[in-house]
């Protein structure tokens, strides 16, 4: 407990503290794993797309962390494209979901099993 308190006290506050890559990479990996779990378990199509967005987020966080670590802005530029793709995907996927919902009045992904062929 005492060690923890001294740790908190000694922790530099603000963005200028020492940069550790692996902390951010672990958060990114955990976010990605949660997104995967959500995509696999949830049956609501909209939530499934939401989980893919979460995986995009995880990738973006890793890219920004690497970009800061190597002080190279290309990573941030890549995140801009991740945002672009996410926006395009949201527009198209949600339009498709609305169409599918109009057909069957349900958002259950299992209802569309016949699409698998």
């Amino acid at each position: 407990m005492e060690a923890m308190l001294t740790m908190l006290a000694a922790t530099p506050v603000g963005p200028m503290g020492p940069m550790t890559l692996y902390h951010y990479l672990f958060v990114s990996a955990a976010l990605f794993a949660i997104g995967v779990i959500g995509f696999l378990t949830r049956r609501n199509m909209i939530i499934m797309f939401l989980c893919t967005e979460m995986m995009f987020q995880a990738a973006g966080l890793a890219l920004i962390a690497f970009s800061r670590f190597y002080l190279n802005q290309t990573g941030e530029v890549f995140v801009i494209f991740v945002l672009t793709i996410a926006a395009a995907e949201a527009a198209l996927a949600l339009a498709l979901v609305v169409l599918l919902f109009r057909r069957k009045e349900t958002l259950d992904a299992a209802e569309w099993r016949q699409l698998a062929g």
Binding site: G17, M19, Y24, R42, I46, L50, L71, I80, T106
Partner: protein, 369 residues
């Protein structure tokens, strides 16, 4: 290269986290969500505690805000996949976005942090919310609280969680096996070299330092862009020189006593004020339009994050930027085409629809939007 976390503890904590997530996923009858959330919090919290202690021992602990926002972000991400109501899940996802944009701020990516809030939380998630509201069956009067079956019951929670956490274990192998990590390497994009590409910013910086109020003529943009390529090479050599024309020698003389002003002159450290004025005299006559003097750029004048991102985007990846625009345009066209598609209704269905419309908001549920 040593392990950042004790591998045995790391995998035990991951398994605990996985157990918690599996318990927290929506289930038909017994729903131990709170217990699951608690166990998952113990698992993730333990890993973060171990990482934090290790970082503290190595004296490279991240700011305490990192832990706060990482835990908020992961907690709300967990809530996104466990909350049975889609609207709440989307709102929790906004919380995840906000906390990851806070992490971006800690990583000094200010532009992306605010772009993320505006684009993701402000635009994309609002679209999601609208679609969730549009594509939800209106509950009948007696069961307003009812949830659809596909929201209440998750699909294969145990197997999916196992897959997810095995993936997480693989992705974070570096924690258990150790990784080579020194301090960040030096940037290939020197701040000064970037400034050399931005004459207006240089001019503004000198303006703010009060240089042009002290008897120096403000160079025109043309003059400055003539000088700037030269500035670039000089800046690269860490000399930080700009050449300026003296307009009013008396004013310069007067301002030399001001330390902040004087620090703008490179030679100021090396020579006394009188010597400097002598140097001004010596320069006179050498240059046609009055006198030019070496001036160092103000210390505060550095390329900011948005300068760097803008430069990387426009100068280094212009083609990719164009492609992103094309992708967005195609997505917009595609969404318009998809949304316009009409469903062919049979005669009976048409009669049913018109009756629904005629009977107003209290009509039978579903069917129209």
């Amino acid at each position: 290269m040593q392990a950042l976390v004790n591998p045995v503890w790391f995998y035990i904590l991951l398994a605990v986290g996985g157990l918690g997530v599996a318990l927290a996923l929506p289930r038909p009858k017994v729903n131990p969500q709170l217990l699951g959330a608690l166990i998952a919090a113990i698992g993730f919290g333990g890993i973060f505690l171990a990482l934090g202690i290790k970082a503290y021992q190595n004296e490279q602990a991240p700011p305490v805000f990192f832990y706060i926002f990482a835990l908020i972000g992961l907690g709300s991400a967990l809530r996104v996949i466990t909350h049975p109501r889609p609207v709440y899940a989307a709102l929790y996802f906004i919380l995840t976005i906000l906390s990851s944009s806070a992490l971006y701020l800690l990583l000094q990516a200010e532009f992306m942090a605010f772009a993320l809030i505006i684009i993701y939380a402000g635009a994309i998630l609002i679209t999601y919310l609208f679609v969730i509201m549009l594509a939800t069956q209106a509950p009948s009067e007696d069961q307003l609280e009812a949830l659809s079956e596909y929201d209440r019951v998750s699909r294969e929670p145990v197997v999916a969680t196992a897959v997810g956490f095995i993936l997480l274990a693989v992705l974070s192998t570096m924690l258990a096996r150790g990784m080579n990590e020194g301090m960040p390497v030096k940037s290939d994009q020197n701040s000064d070299a970037l400034l050399a590409q931005m004459p207006k910013k240089v001019l503004r910086g000198l303006d703010e330092a009060g240089l042009f109020r002290s008897g120096f003529e403000r160079p025109s943009m043309d003059q400055l862009s003539e000088v700037i390529p030269d500035v670039g090479t000089r800046l690269n050599a860490q000399k930080r020189l700009v050449w300026l024309t003296v307009a009013d020698e008396a004013e310069v003389r007067k301002s030399l006593d001001d330390p902040t002003f004087a620090s703008l002159f490179v030679q100021r450290d090396a020579m006394e004020a009188e010597e400097f004025v002598d140097a001004v005299e010596a320069y006179k006559g050498q240059v046609k339009n009055g006198v030019t003097l070496p001036v160092s750029l103000p210390e505060r004048l550095v390329a900011s994050n948005i300068d760097r991102v803008g430069w990387a985007l426009i100068a280094q990846h212009p083609m990719a930027l164009e492609l992103a625009g094309v992708i967005l345009l195609m997505a917009m066209l595609g969404a318009v085409v998809l949304a316009r598609k009409q469903i062919e209704l049979s005669e009976a269905e048409k009669i049913e629809q018109s009756r629904t419309l005629a009977s107003g908001p209290n009509g039978p549920p579903g069917g129209t939007f």
